[in-house]
């Protein structure tokens, strides 16, 4: 229960930071993509279900404030979290390299699809420009933030694991 509250709180805080602080501290008009970081991190650390919920609520908040329709971002992020959840049982969580790689790949894929659907279809054909000025800078910035954020999320997660283990022992 406490774990869920903390997870919800982190999701909420990340949305707030994303739309305020990181927008104010953007470099060249580019800010990192925090919702993707936490969706991927939680999907990877906690599995399909948590990834799905974190993605859904991050997306829903974005939909409510900035979406043209409600549910689009929620759907997209939910599936990202769910898909990453499949890797939960296969890999060690201590190693930071894989989550970074995943965040980078997902962020790039997400932006590329975004460009294709919402820019290319409106006749904005200069892919190299958008590639160099939006996608790559966001990727780099997002990866840097992941390097800082993932260990923090991992520590919080391990703390809860320890607490749960202890209480389970006590109960028996």
């Amino acid at each position: 229960m406490a774990r869920n509250i903390v997870t919800a709180f982190i999701t909420f805080i990340c949305f707030l930071l994303q739309t305020t602080v990181f927008k104010a501290l953007s470099f060249g008009g580019i800010s990192p993509n925090l919702p993707i970081i936490i969706t991927v991190s939680y999907g990877f650390m906690r599995g399909k279900k948590t990834g799905l919920y974190v993605g859904f609520f991050s997306g829903l908040l974005m939909d409510i404030f900035f979406g043209e329709v409600i549910g689009l971002y929620a759907l997209l992020y939910m599936y990202i979290g769910f898909a990453i959840g499949f890797l939960h049982e296969l890999f060690f969580k201590e190693d930071i390299k894989l989550p970074i790689l995943l965040v980078a790949a997902i962020d790039f894929g997400y932006n590329f699809i975004f460009y294709c659907l919402l820019f290319l279809l409106r006749g904005r054909f200069r892919l190299p420009y958008y590639f160099l000025n939006v996608m790559i800078p966001e990727l780099v910035y997002t990866v840097i933030i992941t390097v800082l954020l993932y260990p923090l999320l991992f520590l919080i997660n391990r703390k809860f694991d320890q607490i749960e283990k202890r209480s389970a022992k006590k109960f028996v």
Binding site: F12, F15, L16, L17, Q18, T19, T20, V21, K23, A24, L25, G28, G29, I30, S31, N33, P35, G47, K48, K49, L52, Y53, F56, L60, L61, M62, I64, F65, F66, V69, I70, G71, L72, A74, L75, M78, Y79, F82, G85, N111, F114, Y115, L118, F119, R122, R124, R126, Y129, Y130, N133, V134, E138, A168, F171, V172
Partner: protein, 289 residues
């Protein structure tokens, strides 16, 4: 823990694929409903507004402060370097010269302010603060801290620094979303003030970095439009009030069809450092002049 004990204690848990299915259908229903109707999830918006907006207001203030500090720090290094050479220069400049330049600058500023204030004086306006910006890097909408409680409605025009910022596209109780004219999806019907030729001003992500907006479909058969001409919102626009300054022509060239012209304009509003805006509490339809 024995399996028997565990079975009794364990609550019913839904497998994640069913959760995914339920939430997916929920999303699809919400998307269809919000797309087909104009209903934008009223209760959701209201709850989100009362929970999120106070935090955003607080954070954006702190964020603006931090960003200013970080700018200051970055500048400090350059400033220290320049200090030496500047001291030399300052000594060379005469007092009288500085004084005169200052006066000219003040005069120009005051004249501009007077002019702009008079231009939009007849509209009733309300000030609002920008509390958050679109989470992605593709769009440049933002959220302001006033909503229907303060009389704001969808399609009301937003101005700042005496120029057009955009229009309101979504309203809740205590917040509303503004689509800025530099956004890639934004199109504004404008006209050249001096010749009354109509044109379309469209935001562009590519030109945003240079602080420019593109315009097109200008029929300037007489060839009178010059660089530096004022572009204002046109009389025939369905959403924007007429005569709001958008910017100045900085580049103009003939299209391939040899009929219309297109080019770039420099907006009067400094979109990068925008923190407070004015919302004109009057819709285009209501103007009777």
């Amino acid at each position: 823990m024995s399996p028997v004990v565990k079975k009794q204690k364990e609550n019913f848990k839904m497998p994640s694929k069913y959760v995914l299915l339920i939430l997916t259908s929920l999303c699809v229903v919400l998307m269809v409903v919000t797309f087909m109707t104009n209903y934008m999830g009223g209760p959701l918006q209201k709850i989100a507004g009362y929970v999120v907006v106070p935090f955003q207001e607080g954070i954006s203030e702190v964020g603006a402060y931090l960003s200013k500090k970080s700018d200051d720090l970055l500048q400090l290094r350059d400033v220290l370097k320049e200090n030496e050479s500047l001291k030399q220069q300052v000594a060379d400049l005469t007092n009288e010269n500085i004084h005169l330049q200052q006066q000219i600058y003040d005069l120009e500023n005051l004249q501009n302010l007077l002019e702009l204030d008079a231009e939009y004086a007849d509209y009733e306006k309300t000030g609002a603060r920008i509390i958050s910006k679109d989470s992605g890097n593709w769009y440049s909408g933002f959220v302001i801290n006033k909503g229907s409680n303060d009389g704001i409605q969808v399609d009301m025009n937003v101005i700042a620094d005496g120029g057009l910022v955009g229009r309101v596209t979504k309203v809740s109780d205590n917040w509303s979303k503004v689509l800025s004219i530099i956004d890639d999806t934004s199109n504004v019907s404008g006209m050249i003030l001096s010749t009354n030729d109509n044109l379309i001003v469209s935001g562009s992500l590519e030109k945003m970095a240079d602080n420019r907006i593109t315009f097109s479909q200008l029929l300037d058969s007489a060839g009178l439009v010059r660089i530096g001409d004022k572009i204002v919102t046109s009389d025939i626009s369905s959403k924007y009030l007429p005569g709001i300054l958008i910017g100045y022509v900085t580049e103009i060239h003939m299209d391939a069809n040899n009929l219309s012209k297109s080019g770039l304009l420099s907006p009067v509003v400094d979109f990068e450092h925008l923190s407070e805006v004015l919302v004109i509490l009057e819709l285009k339809q209501n103007v009777t002049e």
